[in-house]
């Protein structure tokens, strides 16, 4: 077992002995399930209306259910992912195990990678559980799978980016609550940059600011457009956050 694997195993163990994952996970699934239910009922109501007006109804589940659901997910992830990441470094610093970790014969990059990957696995597990929604819908209706799958790809990338921001926030402080709020804050700023950008209109600065926000990039994936530009955005953002986390962890040794 490599050190990174050892850290992943230990972190997963820590996640699943604490109630946090269970509470966060069940709330996540409850809210996602509830929203999906509402969107489906809403779509059904529209279908009945169309039936009455035109005699036949062909409704688009991709538009009425999945796109709505995927855009709601942005906000749900923004709320729950900081709660998953807040403990990663903050707890180590609070409980003084940080010193132990940094005097172990492993690199800081291995520590950051191990911690990030462990929380990513937890997130992927939770996201996997929402997979039953499209599967159940597929039993009773017809929809286009392609944008659903690219939407899930978008969710994975968006979640990974959020988690990397959370890792950075957790490395900044030894208080878990502060870590959670810092990542909320950072993510909200990233979100709102899209609005700032559109306010500035079609100028170079406006476009540059919009590019920094995840909104547009995620939206493309939800609509079924897979563009390397968007993938690059997520991957480079994530790499930058993890690199900054590495620097922050390294710099705490100097204080």
């Amino acid at each position: 077992m490599t050190p990174v694997q050892a850290i992943i195993a230990k972190e997963l163990r820590s996640y699943f002995v604490s109630p946090v994952v269970y509470v966060v996970g069940s709330m996540f699934l409850l809210i996602v399930g509830l929203l999906a239910y509402l969107y489906v009922v809403f779509a059904g109501a529209q279908a009945i209306q169309l039936m009455q007006m035109r005699g036949s109804a062909q409704i688009n589940l991709n538009d009425l259910v999945f796109r709505n659901l995927f855009s709601s997910m942005r906000f749900i992830l923004l709320i729950i992912l900081p709660i998953l990441t807040m403990r990663l470094f903050a707890e180590e610093r609070k409980l003084r195990t940080f010193e132990f970790l940094l005097t172990s014969p492993i690199g800081i990059n291995e520590i950051v990678a191990g911690k990030f990957m462990s929380v990513l696995l937890v997130f992927l597990g939770l996201l996997g559980l929402t997979g039953f929604l499209p599967l159940v819908l597929a039993l009773f209706s017809d929809f286009n799978w392609y944008p659903v799958l690219t939407g899930y790809l978008g969710l994975i990338l968006l979640g990974a980016l959020f988690l990397s921001v959370g890792v950075l926030a957790s490395a900044l402080t030894e208080n878990q609550i502060v870590a959670a709020f810092v990542s909320f804050g950072l993510l909200l700023v990233l979100w709102l940059l899209a609005d700032v950008g559109s306010l500035l209109g079609d100028t170079a600065i406006g476009q540059a600011i919009s590019y920094l926000s995840f909104i547009e990039h995620y939206d493309h994936l939800v609509r079924g457009m897979v563009d390397t530009k968007d993938l690059t955005y997520f991957v480079s953002g994530l790499a930058l956050m993890l690199f900054l986390s590495h620097r922050v962890v390294d710099s705490t040794r100097w204080k």
């Binding site: 195993a9 230990k10 163990r13 409980l95 010193e99 132990f100």
Partner: protein
């Protein structure tokens, strides 16, 4: 094994350690002795490559802490001030994690874990969550962690804190047994610990090394003065002055209860006889007269307090009377 040359650690507003140099030979146990805040922990953090020194050079197990920290980290076992344990893991899970981080696996890992569990008496609690263990057990788990990969160098920051007297004795025995095959540096503010376990003592105060020697020689070297404690029934107002005029007496302190005097005498000169004669002829009512020898404890206090500019009286007042009544 450990070679420290002129290391200095400066923070934004204060200097934690100031040009500290010392060395630990292979198989030697060295005590780092000092009051709280003297710079012990900072020194240990530098040696364990947790933080870099501002200036100076620290070489541990043949590798420079600044240039090759990973090589150093592979060869040391480090027990920080607070035992670095994960409360949500059981003892075995924790040791397994520690071993894996240090590249142990398979049979090697199992046998190392077994060895430490036995050595530190963790057998009965090995499947319990560390969060439910007492302070003493956590400390022992922390020690097991430091010893797990059988490192050449052990850096132990206050290894016996939080243990009960029986456990303290056991841990000291353990450290003594490690000597010879391991180089150990341990910090403590408890003197008997240093005398019981270590071949050499480094006393640090205010970030500087103030003394370095074997426990015995330190005590001997610093016995610059003999002290006499004197209790009188009815001292006269000029008793102070008269006592001071006795040959060999350098200083007279009145401390504590009325009629109690503390005399500081020249080294190697026993003034007790003279003092007794004076007390009797003056009719002060001699109740008690005894010599006080300086224990290592006093030496320590002396060294670390005079550094801070406190009066010598403070040393004298805490000196314990020795068992040699006149």
């Amino acid at each position: 094994m450990i070679e420290v040359q002129q290391i200095t650690k400066r923070y934004a507003h204060h200097t934690a350690i100031d040009r500290v140099s010392f060395s630990v030979a292979k198989g030697e146990v060295l005590a780092f002795l000092g009051p709280n805040g003297a710079g012990k922990t900072t020194t240990m953090r530098i040696l364990s490559c947790f933080m870099p020194a501002t200036e100076g050079k620290a070489v541990v197990a043949g590798f420079d802490c600044a240039d090759q920290p990973l090589e150093v980290k592979r060869r040391i076992g480090y027990l920080p001030e607070t035992p670095p344990v994960y409360l949500e893991l059981t003892v075995t899970e924790y040791l397994q994690f520690v071993g894996r981080l240090r590249g142990l696996s398979g049979k090697m890992l199992t046998s190392s874990m077994q060895r430490e569990i036995e050595r530190l008496g963790l057998g009965t609690i090995q499947h319990r969550l560390i969060g439910n263990l007492s302070r003493g057990y956590r400390q022992r788990v922390g020690l097991a962690q430091a010893l797990l990969h059988d490192p050449q160098v052990l850096i132990l920051d206050e290894p016996t804190v939080g243990l009960d007297p029986k456990q303290i004795i056991e841990i000291r025995e353990l450290i003594k047994n490690l000597a010879g095959s391991h180089s150990v540096i341990l910090s403590t503010h408890i003197l008997p610990e240093a005398t019981a376990v270590c071949q050499r003592v480094v006393i640090i105060s205010g970030g500087r090394i103030v003394a370095e020697d074997t426990p015995e020689q330190l005590a001997a070297r610093l016995r610059q003065s003999e002290k006499i404690s004197l209790t009188l029934k009815s001292p006269a107002p000029d008793t102070d002055r008269l006592l001071k005029s006795v040959q060999g007496v350098q200083n007279v302190f009145t401390s504590g209860a009325p009629g109690t005097f503390l005399l500081e005498c020249e080294l190697g000169r026993d003034a007790r006889e003279e003092v007794a004669r004076l007390a009797v002829t003056s009719g002060w009512g001699l109740l008690e007269l005894k010599a006080i020898s300086m224990t290592l404890e006093d030496v320590f206090l002396h060294l670390t307090r005079t550094e801070e500019g406190l009066a010598q009286g403070a040393v004298a007042a805490t000196a314990e009377p020795a068992d040699q009544p006149a």
